[in-house]
Symmetry: C2
Subunit: 172 residues, 2 copies
């Protein structure tokens, strides 16, 4: 079965954006393992807010990203751009169906609401967090309202010269 990998940038206090949606603190000077992740997947899952943010960005700056199949999860959107697929209704059944299709793994790109839903449903298999050397103090927690404790198995750490630490885990 295809795996769902949550791959996101976080601050040391585990926030994915500042109080006004700021992500200017995210490093873009190096690859930070993103190419390896993109090569492992052929599909991206994202929530509505992330999708709407992506629409405002001309060039996301990730090589190979444009080849990935995009699923947008939303209860409010009526349609999405032609190159994306809208998922409404029964998220669990739909994600299970997609995970059972042939294909490479799936990159869960955010945000917090979709992450919470998929983790609570037991549909996320791995984590790949780029922990930035900053405390934001206020903003959106990545794991907001996860219902139960989730035990993890550390599978790798990588330290970069900028102080970013990449941590990868399996969800047990």
């Amino acid at each position: 079965m295809r795996k769902v990998i949550l791959g996101v940038a976080v601050s040391l206090d585990s926030l994915i954006e500042g109080p006004n949606g700021e992500y200017d603190w995210c490093f873009t000077d190096q690859d930070y393992g993103i190419t390896e992740l993109v090569n492992r997947v052929d599909t991206v899952f994202m929530g509505r807010k992330t999708y709407e943010l992506m629409l405002t960005i001309n060039d996301i700056g990730i090589e190979g990203y444009s080849k990935l199949k995009n699923y947008v999860f939303s209860t409010t959107l009526e349609k999405v751009q032609e190159r994306a697929i809208l998922v409404k209704g029964n998220i669990k059944a739909e994600v299970e169906r997609i995970k059972n299709e042939d294909g490479k793994d799936i990159w869960l790109f955010g945000g917090a609401s979709l992450t919470k839903s998929l983790i609570n449903m037991g549909l996320v298999d791995e984590l790949s967090l780029a922990v930035h050397p900053i405390i934001l103090g206020q903003g959106t927690p990545l794991f907001r309202d996860v219902q139960n404790r989730i035990k993890l198995k550390l599978t790798g750490t990588q330290t970069y010269s900028t102080g970013l630490v990449s941590l990868t885990y399996l969800i047990e």
Copy 2:
């Protein structure tokens, strides 16, 4: 000047306790660098809740801990045990006075409220976080309501066989 080192255990989602104060998820099977930290300091700062929790624990299980001088920060307590010193009133002036005394460094042991206050006042110099391989989902964030972004300089990482990752930073 003596340095204040915030040294605590956190979950991957940067919580220091579960929704009912649980800390049963903290690993106690190895030293995890705690002896090195204890040897560096001669003084401990803690908030009231941490102090009251410590009173309920017979043996904290940290060698050398009993030799450390304890300062308890509280606006509500009237007195503390004879071996501890109560800090009320002007926290900033008092911490600056203690930092300017001769002595080894100071271990800021928690909790979230005292941490927030000291970070917001610019009185914390280093972080030493034992990042446990677990998502708690709900509980007390270590860096709750820190007012401004705090830039960090990574000074070390250590990975343990249990999946705990120790991250140390200087506050810039």
